[in-house]
Symmetry: C2
Subunit: 165 residues, 2 copies
């Protein structure tokens, strides 16, 4: 049983280790692997429009943010990022967070969601986003220096959000 709720500032104590593991690995996010805790908090929480955590009996096992992808004339499209704790993978938590984020984004007035940089090497993410209705609208060649896979492509993925009913 997973509960997804808005993150509070104290939640960052549980969020940071999950982000740290993912960012330090440098295999999925275009984030400086040596990013500091403070910079990660600014990126994931302070500068985001909204941040959520996914909680089970085991504690906080996932987190996501919503931010406006482009200001001005592009401000109707949001961007989200999702991280699941290593110990909680394979339980559908990313899927539940993405579904939740689409509702949250609609409620915030966004009309579409865009992922700017989905690495082609991140097969699970590509498959999941396609399964949830995202289309690949672009592919950037040699976009990311992967520590073991070499240069990998990145996809731009997009989904229109219908207004809340």
């Amino acid at each position: 049983m997973v509960t997804i709720r808005p993150a509070t500032a104290p939640d960052f104590a549980a969020v940071w280790p999950m982000l740290r593991d993912v960012f330090r690995a440098g295999t999925t996010y275009a984030v400086e692997p040596a990013i500091s805790r403070d910079a990660a908090q600014a990126y994931w929480m302070t500068s985001a429009r909204a941040t959520y955590v996914a909680q089970t009996d085991a504690g906080i096992v996932g987190t996501y943010y919503i931010r406006t992808n482009q200001p001005g004339g592009g401000a109707h499209i949001c961007n989200c990022g999702y991280v699941v704790a290593a110990a909680a993978r394979g339980q559908g938590i990313a899927r539940q967070m993405c579904l939740h984020s689409q509702d949250a984004a609609r409620a915030l007035g966004y009309r579409a969601m865009q992922f700017n940089f989905v690495l082609a090497s991140n097969h699970g993410a590509v498959r999941l986003w396609h399964d949830l209705g995202f289309a690949t609208v672009g592919t950037i060649p040699d976009a990311f220096a992967h520590p073991t896979a070499g240069m990998v492509q990145a996809h731009v993925m997009y989904k229109r959000l219908d207004p809340p009913t």
Copy 2:
């Protein structure tokens, strides 16, 4: 005769009116049209990796920035933005700035240049970037609320940069 040189902080007095006209119009850049002078300076100069101005006998007639498009594994790709003063358009200044920026980017170690948000309605820009060797690698539907053209698409454009010879 156009000279392109690194911008200095005092140059912003001449740069700001050019940016202001473009940003206030809200037809080409995904920037909040009401952006303040300080926020524009932070965006165009302080937070950029490098900023240049194009100068003729008439004074400063154009400007561009280079920034790292994605941190971490994506940091070998730069992004640039160009603005030409209204009175100086049609003289090839954007083309000269883009050629200059490719050399400047190579010298900074970048291996590719990416434009994240080229509006399809900005026909002159799309044509110029294609002419200068940029490929359209993606197209975001309904990406931008244009004040007169309605919802327009935005292209992701990309060019590999050969190392300096």
